[in-house]
Each structure stands twice: as structure tokens, then as C-alpha cells.
Symmetry: C2
Subunit: 195 residues, 2 copies
Amino acid sequence: MSLRYALLGLLADEAGSGYELTKKFERSLDRYAWHAKHNQVYQELNRLAADGLAEVVEEGARGRKTYAITEAGRADLRQWLLNPPRNPVVRNEFVLRLFLLFALDPKEARVVLAEYAAAVQRDLDALTALVESADVDPADGVLPDPLAFGHLAAGFGLHMLPASRDWAHWAIAQIDNWTEEGEEKSEAEDGARGA
Amino acid sequence: MSLRYALLGLLADEAGSGYELTKKFERSLDRYAWHAKHNQVYQELNRLAADGLAEVVEEGARGRKTYAITEAGRADLRQWLLNPPRNPVVRNEFVLRLFLLFALDPKEARVVLAEYAAAVQRDLDALTALVESADVDPADGVLPDPLAFGHLAAGFGLHMLPASRDWAHWAIAQIDNWTEEGEEKSEAEDGARGA
DNA sequence: AGAAGCATGTAATGAGTTACATGATTTG
DNA sequence: CAAATCATGTAACTCATTACATGCTTCT
């Protein structure tokens, strides 16, 4: 049911067509919260309309339909937000890969971790630039609504990305520390190799 | 295919029966990395055996079968670890809910965030206790293998949980700051209420 | 002997992916 | 007018969940 609520959430922010919602999904939810493809979005929008949680408010060129959330939809979304499922589904291929690194030898694991840290840093730089470009000076009294869609999510990224980068660096240090212990000798035989 | 690699990873750590692997899955991967139910585990083990990536090495009481990873399985796992899928799947009902909080009014969102922060803190306390009880003094020279299964994962939790707790507190502060701006008056009318 | 938990599975359904299909509009 | 991108969908398949089913072993 999560896809359903993800879409209701996007619709609660503003009405949109399947195409627009798919794009918004990719920009806002796809990376950290929920993943879905365009055809799944279209199908779920049909179901939401059939169940009275959303409705078509406009039909445009080449079959374009704009959906809006209904009162029933808002109520349903609100209930879901207030009553969390007790065993939320978590699937993360990134993290899975990182957790299974022990199956590689230390050198290989080190490379994977370094690449991961670099990718996270790139994401963080991009997000920082995005936030700065959109920011309102907090000193001028006209604070942006902190619940505005995207604001909490951006803050989430700004908190979590440095933590996962730091974890990767910590893991690399653990490995380096340990391999030195085990084989003090092999220091010289192997020059630096960039990734 | 992620479930397949999750199981190969667990088997790379040590051989086990479907039941044992299910339990290990729940303890180690379920919360942050990948989620699966027992029947899916059994089915995937059958497929792994059919594909020659795992093999039954022991049959015990009441149909119990112990599986071990094969060389082909190790090679397959290694390839997956070294060649990440470019668009890893991420699904997280927790995060989804948090991203959609804007659909609640500030007071309700605040409560959800406070409960979330408290739950994260409980997880962190439990993990800290677990790590301390299992820890070897790093000063005595006998460092544990940093790639030992669970070590990297535990470190991940120790890095990420504080960050997500801090994010929740930041989000609450944002909301408080903003609602004060908007309605300086309502300060007195509402006493403290514990969650 | 009965209850709790061990241990493995099947069947039906629902959610998600991949591949395919189609046509309109905008941009160069 | 050709290419890119907008825009929506269907069909077949695989992955995942829910509900059901079965029998063993250990503990009380």
C-alpha cells in the first residue's frame, strides 16, 4: 500500500498528471523513500480514482489527465501518517551491498567503500548547492514553511549523507588498521592506486 | 535478484538451514538492508540449489536441510558486490512517512517526529549495549576482523541512527520556530504533554 | 498429554519490472 | 521534416505477501 500513500502524498502537495507525478516521484521520493516506475504510477492513479481517493479534474491534450486528491483521500493519507505500520518495509540495495562486503577480500572491499564514499559526497554537494540556491535568509523573518514539501526531505539528506560518508571512511580505516596489524610487511610492495 | 545475493551473503558467512537463515536475516539485514519472509527464503534456497550456487550439505530431523554456498555461488556474489546495479532499489516506509509529514498540520507532524526520534534513540541504545557487550578492547592488539559479518553493519547503525535522530530534532525545531513566528499568541494556551 | 515453538512448505493473490506499443507536440 | 521528448498505456513475467497446512520436538 505504500505506493498508494506516496501518490496521495504527492497529490496532497498539488494536483498533477501521471507524467508529472512520475517526474516528481523521481525527484523527491525515489532515492531515499520509495521507488516506482511510470506504468505503476498510472495504474495506481486509476485505482485511486476508482476508490474515490483521487479524481480527474482536467483532461488535456493527447489523453493527459490531471488528478487531484479528494477529501476521502486526505483522510486516508492522514490515518496512514498517524498510524504507522508496525513493521515498515525497508529495502535498500546500497546498504545490502555494504553489509555483505565481508565476502570480499579487504583490498576489494576498500575500493567499493571508497567509491561509495565518493558517490555520497557528490550527492551531498549537489544537494547543498540545491538548498543554497533555493534558500531564504532565515534572518529576514519570512521563514519558509518547514513542512513545505521537499524541505524536510532536503534536511534529511543533509543529515544522513554526511553520516553515511563518515561511516564509509570509518570502515576503510578499520580495514586499513586491521590489514597493517596482520601484515606489517606488505606496506612497501604496493604503490598507491587511485580509484 | 537482491534476495538471492542477500542469501548468498549469509551463506558466505556460514552454512545454515532455511530456518536459521530466516532468523539471521531478521537479525542482521531486515531492518536496514533487505526484508524477506520465511517462505521466500525457502523458495530462493531451492532456486539457488537448482542453479548450483548453493548445495545441501546435510539433511537432519523433520526435513531440515543445511545449505552451503558453492564456488560458483561465491563467484556470483563477488561479481555482484563489485558491479553495483546503477539504479539501486530503495524502499523505506519509515522515510516515506517522514517525507509526507507536510500533509499533517504542524502539531500532528511534531508528535510523529517526536515518536520517531524516541524510537530511533531506543534502537541506538540497544545497539550500543550490544556492541559494548561484544567488544574487544582495541588497545590489546587483537583487533576483531573489521569485515566480520555484522561489524560493518553495527558501525553503520552507530553512524546513521544518531543522524536520523538529530534530523528529527532539527525538524521539530523548524516547526516550533515557524509556528511561533506565525502565532506568537498560542504559547500559553497549551501545556506540555508527554508522548 | 497439551502447549509452545521448531521447521518446512504450498496456493492464491497482490505488487513491481520489463518489454512493447502508440501517437502528439516541441525543437532544431 | 526529423529527432527528441511528452504522455499514456497493455501484456507477460517475476518478486513478495498472506493465508493455509503439516508434522516434529521440547518443555511443563
